[in-house]
């Protein structure tokens, strides 16, 4: 399998701040790859380096076989970028925006507009509508159409489903899977962990570094967290006691979810904390991908920095 993206020790400083810190990545062609992490983790800076917009301060990055620093002009025609801030012209129609993108890229084959519209599910009526008046889901599909018009081999999407309704989100992810199946490499940044779980692999970025990289199931299995579900009365007292003792404790209705290290026996440990309330049950639940992500980030924040 050939690589779409290879970075070796890529770093980027802004003044004295290290935004990206020695990142090594190898993204395979045709992969749907997620980049996740808190705000300020360095995701956007890394994507901008890979799009040949920013130069790395040190290390190397190759995109589709070309060095992003010395061969930037060869990288740019091969990639598509859909930014988080909506990137079409609101006063133009969808069709006019697509025409503008087509003329900007130059080498778009005839009939490609029609194929792209069919791919993303835009019809003739949508093409005639002014972008400013479109629902968010349709706008995102139009932005995606503009980003793939020139048939990029690698597509970057920054928070593509922000503000999109559930059915729209499902359709957009189905589309990203279809693009990946057809051979386009897709790199998505997202805040929504349930969505990150739909990627083939994800990299978790915190404070400029890649903490972990692997399949969502693999990352979930590798974290040292189990969830204990506690039903107790009065639940308010139980929640107060548990959240004071176990950070990350959350409520689901009146059930209390407590993240615990895997080695700990929830029954014995939690009953000590809950001596003042009536405990109806303590059961185990699989951690969600979000639980696993939070546990990973917390472990990193507590660990001394290299």
């Amino acid at each position: 399998m050939t690589s779409a993206v290879v970075t070796e020790g890529v770093s980027r400083c802004f003044g004295r701040r290290l935004a990206v810190d020695r990142v090594d990545l190898d993204i395979v062609r045709g992969e749907l790859f997620g980049l996740i992490g808190p705000n300020g983790a360095g995701k956007t800076t890394l994507v901008r380096i890979l799009c040949a917009i920013l130069r790395p301060s040190s290390g190397s990055a190759h995109v589709l076989g070309f060095d992003v620093t010395t061969e930037a002009a060869r990288v740019r025609p091969l990639i598509g970028y859909m930014s988080q801030a909506f990137s079409l012209y609101p006063t133009l129609t969808v069709g006019e925006n697509l025409r503008f993108s087509r003329e900007l890229y130059g080498r778009v084959p005839p009939g490609r507009d029609r194929d792209v519209c069919r791919l993303v599910g835009l019809d003739e009526g949508d093409l005639a509508r002014q972008v400013a008046h479109l629902p968010t889901g349709v706008r995102q599909r139009a932005a995606l159409a503009a980003a793939v018009l020139h048939q990029p081999q690698l597509l970057f999407l920054d928070e593509p489903t922000s503000g999109v309704d559930p059915a729209g989100r499902r359709d957009l992810w189905a589309l990203l899977h279809r693009l990946a199946t057809d051979g386009t490499t897709v790199l998505v940044t997202t805040h929504v962990m349930a969505e990150a779980e739909r990627c083939d692999r994800v990299a978790v970025m915190v404070a400029g570094q890649v903490l972990a990289c692997g399949s969502p199931a693999g990352l979930r299995a590798a974290t040292d967290t189990n969830i204990a579900v506690v039903d107790a009365r009065p639940w308010q007292h139980a929640y107060a006691a548990l959240s004071a003792r176990w950070p990350g404790t959350t409520l689901r209705g009146t059930s209390i979810h407590v993240p615990l290290p895997r080695a700990v026996d929830p029954g014995s440990v939690l009953r000590d904390t809950l001596s003042e309330v009536h405990v109806a049950s303590i059961t185990a639940a699989e951690p969600s991908f979000e639980d696993a992500f939070i546990s990973l980030v917390r472990e990193q924040q507590l660990a001394p920095r290299a």
Partner: protein, 228 residues
């Protein structure tokens, strides 16, 4: 006792029926979530309940007459970016008619509660999205309201900040506040006692997360099947 009520509420904007006979009744001390797509009517519903929009038909509580008992945190960031955290709090406190001494005493406690004590002198515009949402919450709590309306407080906020924000919501819930929260995230409203699905201005379904989930693994999957 019902603290937050929408009873057969209708609201139209020109030809658009934004709310179409919406019913909900949140008992004292409960945490309810309204979930739905963009333009489902969530914000219009909260604004009607807060008395900021006049309903065309039906009845709301607390409404305009009950605004003193209400904390309303609107969607997005609407405080003053070029004022500091402390200046924003002082200004909003003044709008509520609180004395500077009363604001100051309560603000210390609330900023500590929200983890913003060491950001008092920061410009609000320089805070992260998560911190801005916490500041918005602090400002909506200054007058000790027992009822809270939170409109998409975590949209666009990263997962860790979202967790921290929910920690605050849960503490308020445990302390007895009555809370109605609108969200576009299904995993988020799974944390509520009771969920209302809103679609195109109508209540599509309502119940506890367990009831609505049914045989599905998530609320979102149940919703998608219901609407497909």
């Amino acid at each position: 006792m019902i603290e937050i009520l929408a009873d057969r509420v209708v609201k139209t904007f020109g030809p658009t029926r934004a709310l179409d006979r919406v019913d909900l009744a949140v008992p004292s001390g409960a945490l309810w979530g309204v979930v739905g797509a963009d333009s489902a009517g969530k914000t219009t519903l909260l604004r009607c309940i807060a008395g900021l929009l006049r309903v065309d038909a039906g009845r709301v509580l607390p409404g305009r007459a009950g605004q003193a008992r209400l904390g309303y945190s609107q969607q997005g960031f609407h405080l003053y970016s070029d004022l500091t955290v402390e200046e924003n709090v002082a200004f909003i406190g003044h709008l509520y008619g609180l004395s500077p001494a009363a604001v100051s005493a309560h603000a210390d406690e609330l900023l500590a509660f929200a983890g913003l004590s060491d950001r008092r002198s920061s410009l609000a515009g320089e805070l992260s999205g998560g911190m801005q949402q916490k500041l918005t919450l602090v400002c909506s709590l200054l007058h000790h309201p027992p009822i809270l309306l939170l409109d998409e407080p975590t949209t666009g906020v990263d997962p860790l900040s979202r967790l921290e924000f929910w920690d605050l919501v849960e503490k308020l819930h445990v302390a007895g506040s009555t809370i109605l929260l609108a969200s576009g995230y299904f995993d988020e409203v799974e944390r509520c006692d009771h969920v209302v699905y809103l679609q195109r201005g109508r209540v599509l379904a309502t119940g506890t997360p367990d009831d609505l989930r049914g045989a599905h693994s998530t609320l979102e999957a149940a919703f998608l099947e219901m609407t497909s």
